[in-house]
Amino acid sequence: MALSREIKERSIRRYKEERDWFKLNLEAAELLGTEEGELSARLLRILLEAKERVVDAVENDKPFIGGYFCNAPEIFTSMGLPWFMVMETPFLAASAPFILEDIDGAEEMGLGSDLCTAIRLPIYYIENNMMPIPTCCLGLIYPCDGAPMLHQVLMHNSNWKNVPLYSCDPPYTSDERAIRYFADELREMTRFIERHTGAKLDMDRLVEVCERSNRVYTIWQEYMEVRKNVPCPHGWEMGGAQCFAISQCFDVGNPKSVAWFEQLIKVAEDRIRKGSGAQTKEGWREKVRLFWFDIMPYGWIFEFMPWLEEELGAVIVNDMFGNFPYSLIDTSSEETIYYDLAKRNLVDAPMIRQARGTAENFSEDIRRIVRDYKVDVVIWPGHMGHKDGAATVGIMHETCRELDVPFLHVGLDLFDKRYTSIDEVKDKVVTFLEGHGFV
């Protein structure tokens, strides 16, 4: 059923505002005059191109997809389909000026304040027709309880009711049987996309995309090796989040993404050669190597992260998005491609990797990162949406005790600075670091 012009126009309005906000960010990054600024600017240009493709698809009635980074985007990008993430705004534009107002709107709708903000916001957008309505949608029903509930609201909404939706079912285990099952779910997903968009999967093209994405993953892994250096060549401004955005969201298997990663590692290696670390401003140096075990606090990142580095010399050497096994895709047959895509998307993808299965992933990641990155302290921010993580706090604490590395659990909302005020978060971090003699 075709959507009316009015519904379509309204559905894309917020998306365009977001795009325009990113344009402002691009201008700011271009003015920075730093290597991080240049890398950010290139990333933002790639991101804006992806956004323009979606706007164009909406305005000109071309097929496009609502999808996720862990739905094997190699498949639908190789089919040439533009796509966006249903949960894109909280993860990418959480510091945009309209976010707090939208969060309040969600609360007023009766979604309370204990539901993950990354879930509340998309529900608010869907229910108020503030999100592009795609030709078909690939849902996400893991790693948390919120995600499947969000997609059930999507099916329930009157504008989205007729949007075909397919979600891959996630096993709780990660063994071969689980990966094969998930690979079958991905095969079904491919047939679903073909059925609803008219696009066809060309295996040669998929091989090409996977090989390019393998190249990206290989450089990413090399880059993460480089980050083990003391001092770390990059801080919060460049790392897991940016690598993730390019490799898994906006430029999957594209030559530009390879070029971006090549520049990234070149900058990092140059710094190591020069013996300099992440310090982009005069007057501070790396004093504490920190493992921030979650995604970045996107809603208030600029009010917190520079402070962390410049005031305390605390450098985030790794975080949840920079920390996974980077499995490569064996492109020798269709069978191996689907198997490896299933593994990459079910077992490796950031956040999915930690939160989907048993708590071993938390403790093993902490062990590996603390050891390999010479980490001084582990901070579990304790995002209000990460309830499985909240129930793993004792295990994380115990793991850190065994490693003899201090552990801090804060308790905050990564997207909403009013949940725990930034001052309170800062106080907790300072008290913690002081208590362990780091500042």
Binding site: G112, D169, A359
Partner: protein, 383 residues
């Protein structure tokens, strides 16, 4: 618990529901029987029974604090697992030989991780992988999961769990489901002889008593109810929709205000027993897989069948001539928060039954607030 019911069978059920240990469980253990704890209504308890266990649905009954489990969970976790785990750390579950967990929700699934690291008394523990979707591929996945559990239990106990034993366990549980449905039939009356709080106690008892014996008790209770006088002194007929509700006291508070609870869709209520396991299926494990993934009335933890869930709610409300629905929810539960949001919308959209969302803690607190909100709700219903 307070009751007007003159029934020895009811008294025994209420006693069993009122604590973790009960005299019949004690006797079972003393006679050399073993008990297996399980989380959530999607663990196939029939398999545990076929292995010779007394299946015990995990509860936190009797807990008054979370002082021990607070080191493992956080303040944003649902109070149900926090209280159950606290009880476990206090040793209240040391009688379990086995614990079967499932990836039911973000809170409960972590009990497994914390349990294996901190509760030494349990000899066997595992976590099952329950799919989210409800299609044929998911039935096949869960079929394999149940067979895996069967193999693990066989190894652990050194026995063979035969198809016949599973069939017998299914048959017994289906008989129990049938009797429970008959119990609910009494509640359709204008003057039901049993209250909602009393019914809940009977349902909870069905998850912690030896099942043969529970079946006998249910039979006796049904006979007692034939004789019993009904109570007609209420302001509205209420349905409860929600989750892990095992505390009759919560229902009693609603009933004290004049809202007689006549039916439900909860984890200890109709969702357990409204539909039987298909006994005509040749492979009993396949029958269990299909039942737990597909055919039993689902909770929102399963994905994609909200239309069926709201249809079930409407069907219950209609059959039991319900005047208002109370959607209870444990704080921090994402599943039920969003489910109630959609239910409220659906009911309002069709100008149907009034709906009240009531957040609560697992161990009853804020009774005054619950009373006030229920009173206001009853006034709305009465117009």
């Amino acid at each position: 618990m307070e009751t007007r019911l003159q029934s020895n069978a009811f008294r025994q059920c209420a006693e069993a529901a009122g604590s973790i240990m009960n005299p019949h469980l004690e006797a079972w253990l003393a006679g050399g029987g073993k008990a297996a704890g399980y989380f959530c209504s999607t663990v196939p308890e029939e398999l545990l029974a076929a292995a010779g266990y007394l299946p015990f649905r995990m509860r936190g009954t009797g807990s008054d604090s979370t002082e021990l489990s607070d080191a493992f969970f956080s303040s944003i976790n649902c109070s149900f697992p926090r209280h159950v785990f606290n009880q476990a750390l206090r040793g209240a579950y040391d009688f379990l030989d086995a614990l079967i967990c499932i990836n039911s929700c973000d809170h409960v699934r972590r009990i497994y991780d914390n349990w294996i690291r901190n509760v030494q008394a349990t000899r066997f523990s595992t976590v099952m992988s329950l799919p989210r979707k409800v299609g044929e591929r998911q039935v096949a996945w869960y079929y394999d999961e149940i067979n895996l559990l069967r193999k693990q239990l066989e190894e652990h106990l050194g026995i063979e769990i035969t198809d016949d034993a599973i069939r017998r366990a299914i048959h017994l549980q289906n008989e129990i489901r049938g009797l429970q449905r008959r119990l609910y039939e009494f509640r359709k009356r204008e003057r039901p002889p049993i209250t909602g709080a009393e019914t809940l106690a009977v349902m909870v008892a069905g998850t912690c008593l030896p099942r043969e014996m529970y079946k006998e008790l249910l039979g006796e209770l049904l006979e007692d109810l034939e004789e019993a006088e009904g109570g007609g002194d209420y302001r509205a007929r209420i349905m409860i929709l929600g989750s892990e509700l095992d505390d009759p006291e919560f229902v009693r508070i609603i009933e004290e205000q004049g809202g007689l609870v006549v039916t439900d869709s909860t984890c200890y209520g109709t969702r357990l027993m409204w539909v039987p396991v298909d006994e005509s299926e040749e492979d009993p494990v396949r029958a269990l897989a299909r039942f737990y993934v597909q055919s039993r009335p689902a909770c929102p933890r399963m994905y994609g069948n909200q239309p069926e869930r709201i249809a079930f709610t409407r069907k219950m409300a209609e059959e039991f001539r319900v005047d208002g629905i109370i959607g209870e929810r444990l704080q921090f539960c994402d599943n039920w928060l969003v489910e109630h949001y959609m239910t409220k919308y659906d009911l309002r959209e069709h100008g149907e039954i009034p709906f009240l969302q009531l957040d609560r803690e697992y161990i009853l607190s804020g009774k005054g607030q619950i009373k006030t909100r229920v009173q206001a709700f009853l006034e709305t219903i009465e117009g």
